[in-house]
């Protein structure tokens, strides 16, 4: 117990602080506001110049009809109505839906691998580096590389035949469905390292003792993953999901370009590649823009749900 030596008057002063001196805070606030605005301005200018303006220009062009690189005329909704009768456009969006259907693999596989690395499974340092290496290879190089690897007499089929799995040695890039899923598998191989890194960053925020407690309570790997890691990693999972949902539809261009060029037939034709073909090969700018806008809407609709969910998760008050 301590005994106060202060006088009663002093004590009264201590408990009743003098009224604060009224500073004029407005100029400081104004300065901060201007500083903030100046810092944000370059980003805003870049976003407007390189995102908003091209988007608006794309919308305008999608209502135009042109022949080659010549002058264009107003086409109304023609480019949009044409899409519903165009088998190539319909095939490209059907393929896009099939690609979107592979999203669970894109989300879960890197998570499992990240958790294995995080809990220092044997060889974790080696795998942490190895998983990320494919992401550092230019996609166009990945495409050229896998064109050889997946050829009928390529190393994958040679390996399958060598281990007695001859029936599995198919023509990976020639089949109607195998070509698309081979393409997605190559993309996954190329990009999942980024997912592993993203999850590892998220896992670093989970207190060690929580995972240790689950381990001591006898929870196995999958139980820890499902009941501890996933709930605590929701914002990271949501972030990666949004990135994947939009990414699988706009990341694949260089791989399609190098690997299949949309073929065989239209088996690997995706809207983003069709935009390129229509605009630069067929020189149909208006129609190419209309397909591009349709893809934008498709990706936006897909992303909105994830972004809203992510926002809710991010702003949810802790219980």
């Amino acid at each position: 117990m301590s005994i106060s030596t202060a006088s009663a008057a002093d004590s009264a002063v201590a408990t009743n602080p003098p009224p604060p001196v009224r500073h004029n805070r407005r100029p400081r606030h104004a300065r901060e506001w201007w500083l903030g605005a100046l810092l944000v301005l370059p980003g805003m200018a870049l976003a407007v110049t390189f995102k908003l303006v091209p988007l608006i220009r794309g919308v305008i062009t999608s209502f135009e009809s042109s022949s080659g690189f010549g002058d264009s005329s107003f086409a109304g909704w023609d480019n949009y109505t044409r899409m519903f009768d165009d088998p190539v456009v319909l095939a490209s969006f059907r393929n896009a839906l099939l690609v979107v259907a592979t999203l669970p693999v894109w989300i879960v596989l890197p998570l499992v691998l990240a958790v294995l690395i995080h809990q220092r499974a044997p060889g974790w340092k080696f795998f942490r580096a190895v998983y990320f290496v494919p992401y550092t290879i230019a996609p166009i190089v990945v495409g050229i590389m896998f064109r050889q690897i997946l050829s009928p007499d390529g190393p994958i089929n040679a390996l399958l035949r060598a281990v007695g799995l001859e029936p599995l040695a198919i023509e990976w890039l020639n089949g109607q469905n195998s070509a698309l899923f081979s393409l997605v598998a190559v993309a996954l191989w190329s990009f999942f390292g980024l997912g592993v890194m993203t999850y590892l960053a998220g896992l670093a925020t989970i207190p060690e003792e929580v995972l240790e407690a689950a381990y001591l309570d006898g929870a196995n790997f999958w139980r820890r993953l499902y009941s501890v890691v996933v709930p605590m990693l929701r914002p990271t999972v949501a972030y990666w999901s949004v990135l994947c949902a939009s990414g699988v539809l706009i990341w694949l261009f260089p791989l399609i370009y190098a690997l299949t060029q949309g073929g065989p037939g239209n088996a690997t034709m995706l809207p983003e590649y069709l935009v390129f073909l229509t605009t630069f090969q067929f020189l149909d700018r208006g129609y190419g823009s209309a397909i591009g806008i349709a893809l934008f809407v498709f990706v936006a609709v897909l992303s909105i749900f994830s972004v809203r969910h992510m926002f809710k998760e991010g702003t949810r008050k802790p219980r």
Binding site: S67, L173, T260, G265, F280, L283
Partner: protein, 432 residues
């Protein structure tokens, strides 16, 4: 303090921008040589283009060349924005045919200059509207292009065939392919990913069914793909792969370089490619040996067809002066020189290509037996049906051929798809 710093930074930025702008405008100085910016994919290779630059500049002290080289498969992506923004190079390359006519708004019509250039060329129409020299022409070619069938004499010999008498008819070709397959080799090296093989091989079949008027109808978009003649062309094109004459991975590989590699490795008897610019007789001769390389016409299907024995020829890369160039005279000077004798001889010597200028010294022509044989073929030219295809048609031809090869499509459905592609083509829309 902050405001002063900000003002300083802005002032420095404006000064730097002004300095950079000043640096960029040096090529058009009134008292110095004019610098022509040339967009090219360097047909014939970079060594040849270095020679073009050195030789042209030596004889034209007042003009400098600034070559912007772009890989062929990236060319439209670079050229398109220049055209849409009406800015950029003073001279640009294009392939003749529809590819040029889709972009003709970017080029200055040559007017009377076309006739002046034309007088020394073996042939000159692919850069003129409708392949008609009496109409507007938009560029100048200097090389001659077209398709032949190269063969490896050793592979033919190994299959018990006479390399001095390669198959001349469709039936003989089929029989030869059977013999070659039995010897363990591929008959025809092919890569179907991309449009090249489709539009290279299509005219070789089409000559057996179409007249020159039909080919012009194809260009104008008035010949239907449901027309029995075109359906027959598709049927024969389909046979190339469905009869097993090609390597089985053809649908998923490119012709250049993958298909050509199969031939250059000595694993295939035949390869159908071009006579100039890219992988040609010179590259194959280097890989296999000139003495082992043979060249022949594509096998004839209908001996009585008027164009069956002709060569589907087309000018190679065409160079035109851009509408927005402020150095049009210098640009015209350069492209006229490109079509001239001096460049024709550089083309033969350094690019080993087939020249278009008839005054090229014959002593400079390569001594390769394959090249000499090609001289016989090109002497009987006709229109090249492949370059009459619009972008959507060329794409549908290539994709349809892939699907036919994989058994996913019938020829009738293929013809339907081709007709849909024709109707989608912005260039061939009737009424344009």
């Amino acid at each position: 303090m902050f405001r002063r710093r900000l003002t300083g930074v802005l002032a420095a930025g404006v000064a730097t921008a002004a300095m950079l702008a000043g640096c960029g405008g040096g090529g058009d100085a009134a008292d110095g040589p004019v610098t022509l910016k040339v967009l090219t994919w360097e047909p014939g290779g970079s060594e040849y283009w270095q020679q073009v630059k050195t030789t042209f500049e030596a004889s034209h002290q007042n003009i400098k060349l600034d070559l912007q080289s772009v890989p062929f498969d990236k060319y439209p992506e670079v050229q398109g924005p220049y055209i849409t923004s009406q800015s950029g190079p003073d001279v640009m390359a294009n392939n003749a045919g529809l590819e040029l006519f889709d972009r003709r708004g970017a080029y200055v019509p040559l007017g009377d200059r076309a006739a002046e250039i034309n007088k020394d060329l073996v042939t000159y129409s692919g850069a003129c509207e409708g392949f008609d020299t009496s109409k507007a022409c938009f560029g100048v070619p200097f090389s001659y292009q077209g398709n032949v069938l190269y063969f490896n004499k050793d592979v033919l010999r190994g299959a018990g065939l006479d390399p001095e008498n390669p198959p001349a008819t469709w039936d003989e070709f089929g029989a030869a392919c059977e013999a070659i397959k039995n010897s363990g080799k591929t008959c025809l090296a092919l890569g179907l990913s991309g449009t090249f093989p489709a539009y290279w091989d299509f005219p070789e079949i089409a000559r057996n069914y179409l007249t020159e008027d039909d080919i012009r109808g194809l260009l104008a978009g008035t010949l239907s793909w449901k027309d029995p003649k075109l359906v027959q062309v598709l049927e024969k094109l389909a046979e190339i792969t469905t009869k097993g004459w090609t390597n089985k991975n053809a649908p998923s590989i490119t012709m250049l370089p993958d298909g050509a590699d199969i031939f250059q490795r000595g694993d295939a008897a035949f390869a159908g490619t071009i006579i100039s610019d890219a992988v040609n007789w010179e590259a194959f001769g280097k890989a296999l040996g000139d003495d082992k390389l043979g060249v022949t016409r594509w096998p004839v299907i209908n001996q009585s067809a008027p164009l069956a024995g002709k060569f589907s020829g087309i000018e190679g890369a065409v160079y035109g002066v851009t509408q927005w160039s402020e150095k049009k005279e210098a640009g015209l000077e350069f492209i006229t020189w490109l079509a001239g004798k001096e460049n024709g001889e550089l083309w033969v010597k350094h690019a080993k290509g087939q020249p278009l200028n008839k005054n090229v010294d014959p002593a400079l022509l390569p001594s390769s037996p394959a090249f000499k044989k090609i001289q016989e073929f090109v002497a009987e030219p006709t229109l090249h049906a492949g370059v009459m295809l619009s972008g959507p048609e060329a794409d549908a031809l290539a994709r349809g051929w892939q699907q036919i090869t994989l058994g996913q499509l019938t020829v009738d459905k293929w013809a339907d798809q081709m007709q849909q592609a024709l109707e989608r083509s912005p260039t061939k829309k009737q009424g344009n």
